[in-house]
Amino acid sequence: MQDTEKAAPDFSSWSCPLPLEGYPTIVMGHGGGGKLGNELVEHLFLPAFRNPALENLGDAAVLELGSGRLAMSTDSFVVQPLFFPGGSIGELAVNGTVNDLAVSGAEPKFLSASFILEEGFPLAQLAAIVKAMAEAAATAGVKIVTGDTKVVERGHGDGCYINTAGVGLLRSGLSVGPHRARPGDVILVSGTLGDHGMAIMSVREGLEFESQIRSDCAALNGMIAAVLEAAGPAVHAMRDPTRGGLASTLNEIATSSGVGVSIDERALPVRPEVHSACELLGLDPVYVANEGKAVFFVAPEAADGVLELLRAHPLGRDAARIGKATAEHPRMLVARTQMGANRVIPLQIGEQLPRIC
């Protein structure tokens, strides 16, 4: 039931095709730093991620970053299945770290990419993942400049795990952070909620269903740069609501900043199909993961401008105003329900599970 997009590697250009062609899957030797490992670097990673820093193939990449403060972020990606409607672990690995840097107010520049592969993992799948990473990096305007590959024995890994770390240059004059939200701030979300999580659910064993839902996985740095360019200091807090969904992000900011957060459920943008899929499995869209959305806490006088800017951007077409920070009920997220009543939306304990009750 995996929606595998296989891009078979073109072995004709490989200098020593026999070992690789003879092994269409990953073997322990690929992680050994010897000939097989070098084959992978030379014929798979380098051509895909092509850039001068990488091609030096030193133990470390030597980079020019300009002056100013740096931001650094890292994340590991262990998603199952590896390929899902709208993307793969490859795009996630690149965009996830790019976005973490972007919401911190930094311009992402360079990424590292480390792979932990399971013995027996098909090379064709690795090639597809690497291709996806290269495309995502190009779209985001970042370079993958260093990396590593290790191989674990069959049965000791889920096919492929990826870690990416990234560095970026912080914009000067910004003081944005989860602790900087203030009562009165308007809360904006850049688009529809729950797309990624439900796309994964739709291909998850035991729960799968047919739908048009696709992951929203995307690099947000361009859109965020446009917002910061225009509104700068009026943006107090920014976050991308990944695992745990909007609810987790808003709770974190509320706690960090010591403000109350008040949202209107009627204003939350959710695709009808995502809504239906959530109903089917008994899930609440506010807790479902996103991989291409940002939440902004903006000074009220700048809110309309930022919203317009977001909507003008391809990734922000469905942007919406969803609520505000308040001095009431500090550190709590409260939502006005469709019924006109209020409910507290707490931090979820662990992953949200489908229910029958």
Partner: protein
């Protein structure tokens, strides 16, 4: 108990042992067992719990129920302004202890409200 949601039957098949179908829940389609609703045909709506249709939705009755709901309290609206009612309800926070017997320490209330 009982998360069951309404869906429209798109296709009916048999897997050799039981009557199965594809049911469309607002754009999401799932394979569902239709063995318990022999009267249901393609185009009908049914309520589905854990992959099983347990009842046909009587569409006529559904419409009548909705009409009855819509008619409720309509005359009274002339007496209280809509805004007043909505505002009052919206301002009321959620409280599980309407008689105030909760021993949980409450938040310090804010004196001024917009």
């Amino acid at each position: 108990m009982c998360l069951a949601i309404p869906g429209r039957v798109e296709e009916i098949t048999s897997d050799g042992v039981i009557r199965m179908g594809r049911v469309n829940f607002g754009g999401v389609v799932k394979r569902v067992c239709l063995d318990y609703v022999p009267e249901v045909e393609v185009g009908d709506y049914t309520i589905v719990h854990v992959g099983f249709a347990i009842s046909k939705i009587d569409e006529q009755t559904a419409r009548e129920t909705l009409d009855a709901f819509r008619a409720m309290g309509v005359l009274d609206e002339e007496l209280a302004s809509e805004e007043e009612v909505l505002a009052r309800a919206a301002a009321r926070p959620q409280s599980p202890c309407p008689d105030g017997s909760c021993s949980i320490s409450p938040q310090v209330p804010e004196p001024a409200k917009n």
